[in-house]
């Protein structure tokens, strides 16, 4: 067994949140206590977020990835592997772990491998070679041609051809022009851009420098969510390092090309992910979208031609220029080339940041890479594209991951959020959830987005609240169409998608809510009732202690009851019960135990 040469701790936000700093400290302390001089370094997101905190042990003979660590296990690791020389089998993530083995990493190739705060690490991983090649041997037109050959399409969601976008910006009127990187990753359930910026910031900077050279820009803004402090910090470090080495700034690598990047922190407005709103925000205004055309390529930041791409799009560029567009285009389908990064989350067994080739089926992603549903419940739907996207049912899991196939389902590729839902997720509630999000994030400029989404939300609340009417389904369809048609920007145009897709694939759930007052997922509180099963109740008082409204009552060792008119259906008694002695009723069964007016008076007196 070869000696351990390095210990690498995954210090992305997910890792830190899961306790990676404590693991890092425990490793250092244990090594110091034993007088060992093995270097402990850090890296970004290793990707297997469900196994965080993660540590990779590097030896001359290979790499060993450990997961689910804590301070105690970290000490155990030092003792067994570093000192004893034999891996701790029960903590080891095997090399053929399907989660890792089925991925194809281009954008994420360096994530979890290099130290994101080390330029040397990036340079050692072929970093800035693409930029060097571009500056020394290619004209801007040749760069654009290469990107067009690659077939790269925008990874922010809409999927516009990147090469075409660049050529439009290049051929716009002469004079000052800007480049913008959209890192305002606002879709709830998506964290690809955060992870990439935290784990490999130089790759995005290099991609931006190449794009700037191609369109003729000398200044760029990176618009990053303020909620991502670690990403901002690492970007700023990377920019400083690149400037010192003349990889950014004036006369890069001795060429005539000069390029500055400014980091702008967003201030928490979802609509700023829309390009015209984002530019307003950079200019210091309220982030309200404007009519297109003129497109940013014509009139963007401060009226100058501007090219905007998403973080992941720029992240693909260095690879394309290093290996050639044709090589990149070998991956993927006819119209969607390359790979796509997804943030796999929700009721999935193995969640995290993954990168898969375009053309893979949704089933392979969810059941192959993600290992299926956590807790072995039944799969119900996968939500793609956040508030602009939709829910795809099990019957469509053979659909390929490419822009056009996903759009045909009514969902969208989106920026890469993939939230998996199981049978305990109510699809009407999901639609309501997204509508409440878009409703509160609407900037208020367009009437249909501002008021139409409000009316849609009220209708959904009515259905979830047990007051729905059958005509509500038609009303939702009609409003959805109008909001889509009469909104200026992507936020409003796509806001109805979660409603339309759930209506399309799960209409029976809406109807059950309305006709039978039944929520099959048992999530909509107005449609459920909790009841003690007398045969199983042991009288342990756990439910009575958990109940915030004194609705669950009883004496020790005697069967408890739930006073229905005091019960607010919060479910805490259900979670507290260790004997499965509380059942959840819905539909007519719930109605049967619901307090009548007379019952309410009686219960109130008791």
């Amino acid at each position: 067994m070869s000696a351990v040469t390095e210990l690498v701790v995954g210090l992305g936000s997910c890792g830190i949140a899961a306790g990676a700093r404590q693991v890092h400290e425990a490793l250092l302390a244990e090594l110091a206590a034993r007088g060992l001089k093995v270097p402990v370094t850090s890296t970004g997101c290793i990707g297997a977020c469900h196994r965080e905190p993660l540590v990779e042990v590097r030896t001359a003979g290979g790499r060993f990835l450990y997961g689910d660590l804590d301070a105690g296990k970290a000490r155990q690791l030092v003792e067994a592997h570093v000192v004893g020389g034999s891996p701790v089998q029960e903590l080891l993530i095997p090399e053929d772990y399907p989660y890792l083995a089925r991925q194809r990493k281009i954008v994420l190739a360096n994530c979890g491998v290099i130290d994101p705060e080390s330029l040397e690490d990036y340079l050692a991983a072929e970093g800035y070679q693409a930029l060097r090649k571009v500056l020394t041997s290619l004209t801007p037109e040749q760069v654009i041609a290469e990107v067009q050959t690659s077939g790269l399409r925008g990874r922010g969601g809409a999927g516009f051809s990147t090469g075409l976008k660049w050529s439009l910006a290049r051929s716009s009127r002469p004079g000052k022009r800007y480049l913008v990187c959209n890192a305002d990753e606002g879709d709830p359930g998506a964290f690809m851009d955060r992870s990439l910026l935290e784990s490999d910031p130089h790759a995005v900077l290099e991609g931006m420098a190449i794009a700037a050279y191609a369109i003729g820009a000398d200044e760029a803004y990176m618009y990053v969510r303020a909620e991502y402090p670690l990403a901002i910090k690492r970007l700023e470090i990377a920019i400083q390092q690149a400037k010192q080495k003349k990889l950014l700034g004036t006369r890069i690598m001795g060429s005539d090309f000069s390029f500055e990047i400014h980091v702008k922190e967003g201030a928490g407005a979802f609509v700023c992910g829309e390009e015209t709103a984002l530019m307003s925000s950079i200019e210091g205004k309220r982030g309200m979208p404007t009519l297109r055309p003129p497109f940013p390529a014509e009139r963007g930041l401060w009226g100058a031609p501007t090219n905007i791409n998403n973080v992941e799009t720029y992240g693909n560029v260095p690879y394309i220029l290093r290996r050639g567009g044709a090589e990149y285009a070998k991956l993927g389908t006819a119209k969607s080339k390359g790979t796509k990064v997804f943030a796999l989350a929700g009721k999935i067994k193995h969640g995290g940041m993954i990168e898969v080739p375009m053309g893979i089926t949704l089933r392979e992603v969810i059941f192959g890479v993600g290992g299926g549903i956590a807790g072995d419940k039944k799969f119900k739907a996968v939500q793609l594209g956040g508030p602009s996207g939709g829910c795809i049912p099990e019957s469509l899991l053979e659909v390929q991951v490419d822009y056009d196939s996903l759009t045909a389902t009514g969902a969208i590729m989106g920026s890469g959020g993939m939230v998996v839902m199981d049978e305990s997720t109510c699809m009407v509630d999901v639609a309501r959830y997204f509508l409440s999000f878009t409703q509160s994030e609407s900037c208020g400029k367009c009437t249909f987005c501002r008021i139409g989404t409000k009316r849609m939300l009220e209708t959904l609340e009515r259905i979830c609240g047990g007051q729905g009417r059958m005509s509500d389904i038609d009303l939702l369809q009609e409003l959805a169409l109008k909001v889509r048609l009469a909104s200026l920007c992507g936020l409003g145009q796509t806001a109805p998608n979660p409603v339309l897709t759930t209506l399309r694939y799960f209409q029976e759930e809406y109807e059950e809510h309305i006709r039978e007052k039944r929520c099959r997922a048992k999530q909509c509180r107005a449609l459920i009732r909790y009841r003690v099963i007398p045969e199983t109740c042991t009288g342990c008082l756990a439910c009575a202690k958990a109940c915030p409204t004194q609705a669950a009552v009883g004496e020790r060792k005697k069967v408890h009851t739930i006073i229905q008119d005091k019960c607010i259906q919060c479910g805490l008694c259900f979670q507290a019960c260790r004997f499965d002695a509380i059942e959840v009723l819905t539909g007519p069964e719930a109605a049967a135990v619901a307090p009548t007016d007379a019952g309410a008076a009686e219960g109130g007196a008791a």
């Binding site: 997910c14 964290f191 939230v419």
Partner: protein, 148 residues
């Protein structure tokens, strides 16, 4: 002159308005009426415009926060894993609604759209520090420990 020094670190140009507001909030915890007036003078921009920007973005608060700023994530992954129930637990435990500050000034509670830590959902942060894979009990324990 509560915020003048902070503001003057930036050039007097509108595109620095949001960074200025962020810096003021970073230092003072919130955007006070006085600091809006000072920015208005410095940028020669009506106070209404500055108020408009400050109220448009979710990040800015116009009242002082609690000593412990609790934020519960309401992103999709957290939602399907029961973050609404945790929000209720927090509201009950703190005795305030989301968006408010406790009377003793100890806690403020807010919801955030998504903090991107979906793999350890449901998540909350206290003064920026993450608490993941939450359950009702861990939420209650965290708050009680902070209060003690």
């Amino acid at each position: 002159m509560v915020a003048t020094e902070t503001i003057r670190r930036y050039p007097p140009s509108r595109d620095y308005l949001i960074p200025m507001l962020q810096a003021v909030q970073e230092e003072q915890g919130y955007i006070s009426r006085e600091s809006i007036c000072e920015i208005s003078d410095y940028l020669s921009l009506p106070e209404s415009k500055i108020f408009g920007v400050a109220t448009f973005y979710n990040q800015f608060r116009l009242s002082p926060p609690g000593k412990y700023q609790v934020a519960i994530c309401r992103g999709t992954a957290c939602h399907v894993k029961g973050s609404f129930n945790l929000l209720e637990t927090l509201q009950r435990e703190l005795g305030i609604e989301a968006g408010a500050t406790t009377r003793d000034g100890l806690f403020s509670l807010e919801t955030v759209a998504c903090i991107g830590a979906c793999s350890i959902a449901p998540v909350m942060t206290v003064n920026g520090e993450f608490y993941g894979r939450l359950e009702k009990k861990t939420v209650e324990k965290t708050i009680r420990e902070l209060r003690a």
